[in-house]
């Protein structure tokens, strides 16, 4: 399929998905009530469902495009912010702030404190994994994944320890949030994601050709005129910023960064100039769909969205590994 066609198809699909997301929920909305500002249905639509939709679209796009970028950076299609520990690092830092932040969280900088910490945590882990896995001959996939396993367990253990120090309220917050959910989205968090995620998205979109060159190999990219050290630094910063912000606002939402770029590659090839925008689009679409499912499956209760993406993404990941082993020759 050509990239243009896929793009068109995804844009067309986006409309019904967006409308469904606004329409579906524990409360069914009546259409005439929506015309009265201030009515209950009007409030549900504009104060609950719309910010949540913005959140799922933006978070999906950011998770997918950062996934695609990190795969180019590591030159491996199995790299994923969740697998190699970036999300866990961000979560650990965010939990630390939630549990120990105390009065700081209520201060004027409260709302950005958690995202900031998540960014720092994500940045640290990305730099660390890259440092561990990079050899003079390129990035070692095994080392990268093993480092990811280690960092994920360390982060999980540290979060476990911190739960002992947290009071009832923050414990419940932390537990629910860690599973990934967009339940508590309001306009302030949706806008915060847009303000930080928007530029991250736009800046990553510009790197397509340089990422293609990086896929040829680090030396090859340098010989073709790419200043790889600077490119790497830019990517690590942008990915950590994007993933950190999403994690701080929506918790751990796995597999989008892995599955989406992979699907796009299967459909129209690995060219990052097409892969990055299409991944963002498909990511937005799929995470919004997952959010609809999260609301429908156990209605009127709600599943954490991280569980939905893991239920779909986990088996898909296994399939990918099988496919890699058998299919490629």
């Amino acid at each position: 399929m050509s990239a243009r066609r896929l793009g068109l198809l995804l844009w067309l699909l986006l409309l019904p998905v967006v409308l469904t997301s606004l329409w579906v929920g524990p409360v069914s909305l009546s259409s005439d009530a929506l015309l009265q500002p201030g009515s209950r249905d009007w409030l549900i639509l504009f104060e609950l469902r719309l910010p949540r939709l913005v959140m799922s679209l933006a978070a999906g796009a950011i998770l997918a495009i950062t996934g695609a970028s990190i795969q180019a950076l590591f030159r491996n299609s199995l790299a994923d912010p969740g697998l190699i520990g970036i999300s866990a690092g961000a979560a650990l830092a965010a939990v630390a702030v939630l549990v120990f932040g105390g009065a700081w969280l209520l201060g004027p900088f409260g709302p950005v404190l958690v995202p900031l910490a998540a960014f720092a945590g994500g940045l640290l882990v990305t730099a660390l994994v890259l440092h561990i896995a990079r050899t003079p001959r390129g990035v070692s996939v095994t080392t990268m994944l093993l480092a990811g396993i280690a960092l994920n367990s360390i982060a999980a253990a540290a979060i476990g320890v911190m739960k002992y120090f947290s009071d009832e309220l923050s414990l419940r917050q932390v537990t629910f949030w860690l599973l990934g959910n967009l339940h508590s989205t309001d306009w302030s968090s949706a806008l915060l994601l847009l303000v930080i995620g928007g530029p991250v998205l736009l800046l990553l979109l510009r790197e397509g050709q340089q990422l293609n060159l990086l896929l040829l190999g680090e030396s090859q990219a340098r010989l073709l005129g790419v200043v790889t050290s600077r490119l790497r630094r830019r990517l690590v910063l942008l990915v950590a910023l994007g993933v950190g912000t999403v994690v701080s606002l929506g918790g751990l939402i796995g597999f989008i960064g892995l599955v989406v770029p992979h699907l796009v590659r299967l459909l129209c090839g690995p060219d990052n100039r097409a892969l990055l925008p299409l991944s963002a689009l498909l990511g937005a679409l799929l995470l919004t769909l997952a959010d609809i499912l999260a609301r429908l499956l156990v209605s009127p209760a709600e599943l954490p969205i991280g569980i939905v993406t893991a239920l779909i993404g986990g088996p898909f990941f296994l399939f990918m590994i099988l496919y890699r082993q058998r299919g490629r020759a």
């Binding site: 030159r75 491996n76 299609s77 001959r137 390129g138 050709q209 293609n212 060159l213 896929l215 040829l216 190999g217 030396s219 090859q220 340098r222 010989l223 073709l224 005129g225 790419v226 200043v227 590659r265 090839g269 690995p270 060219d271 490629r328 020759a329």
Partner: protein, 260 residues
């Protein structure tokens, strides 16, 4: 423009990989580097390409130190093919070759025409839409060479290639080396690492013999590819017979007992 390196010395974990090597690649010449495994050939190429910093010595491109030239500018003047090509994503052949033209900054149509020409010269037209990962080793090597040749534009002065034809069949070895010869004749300075003595003799005008990090001999092809030099270089018995001015080589182990 010449690429000139003087007194290159490279030490890695206590071992001396290059020991005061001097190389000059003059415009219009094709230099072949010969030497046994581990002689330092690839290290030399990496240093000449600016991929590795020597512990001592310097590399100049024209009248500028190589490492002082900005990356993109350097890529326009210097095209390099290293031995390992770790590409592991399913680009098609044409896309891979197009990536090579990146430093030239051509428009889309120009870029395509430029690469199409390159594909043709290496007989790759039929493979153009194929998935790079599905190709054989020799075909992949030919695609990578086409990519490096696609990097060559008007400003390209130097080409460095590390065993660019090692996995290819006979016909394509000749086809590829002929392209390099053509580029040299058009004024580029070309350096190729090879193992095949016959290919070296057929296409090189200069030869550099490298052994244990040191230059054993360098100079005009016929002056360096002598029985004594080659025998010392490889620790085998090499005999050379001139047939119509072209040397033919035969080799055997020094203590060879022929099986009957």
């Amino acid at each position: 423009m010449t690429l000139q390196a003087s007194a290159l010395t490279v030490r890695r974990s206590g071992r001396l990989l290059l020991d005061a090597v001097d190389v000059t690649l003059a415009a219009g010449s094709l230099t072949v580097v010969l030497g046994p495994n581990g002689a330092g050939k690839s290290t030399l190429l990496h240093v000449l390409a600016g991929l590795e910093r020597p512990d001592a010595g310097s590399v100049w491109l024209g009248n500028q130190p190589l490492l002082s030239i900005a990356a993109l500018e350097r890529a326009r003047r210097l095209a390099v093919m290293t031995q390992d090509q770790p590409l592991d994503f399913a680009f098609n052949v044409e896309e891979v070759v197009l990536l090579g033209a990146y430093p030239l900054g051509l428009g889309r149509a120009e870029e395509r025409a430029h690469c199409h020409h390159g594909l043709q010269r290496l007989e790759l037209q039929a493979l153009a839409p194929r998935n790079y990962l599905s190709l054989s080793g020799g075909e992949q090597q030919r695609v990578q060479l086409a990519r490096v040749l696609a990097q060559c534009g008007e400003e390209t002065a130097v080409l460095l290639l590390d065993e660019p034809v090692s996995a290819m069949d006979l016909r394509h070895q000749h086809l590829c080396l002929r392209q390099l010869r053509i580029l040299a004749d058009a004024g580029a300075a070309v350096l190729v690492i090879l193992h095949d003595l016959a290919l070296a003799a057929r296409y090189a005008d200069r030869v550099l013999l490298l052994k244990q990090g040191q230059v054993l001999a360098q100079g005009a092809m016929l002056d360096t590819m002598t029985p004594s030099c080659l025998s010392t270089l490889f620790d085998v018995r090499v005999e050379v017979a001139l047939v119509e001015g072209v040397p033919r080589f035969s080799s055997s182990l020094a203590d060879d007992t022929v099986l009957s």
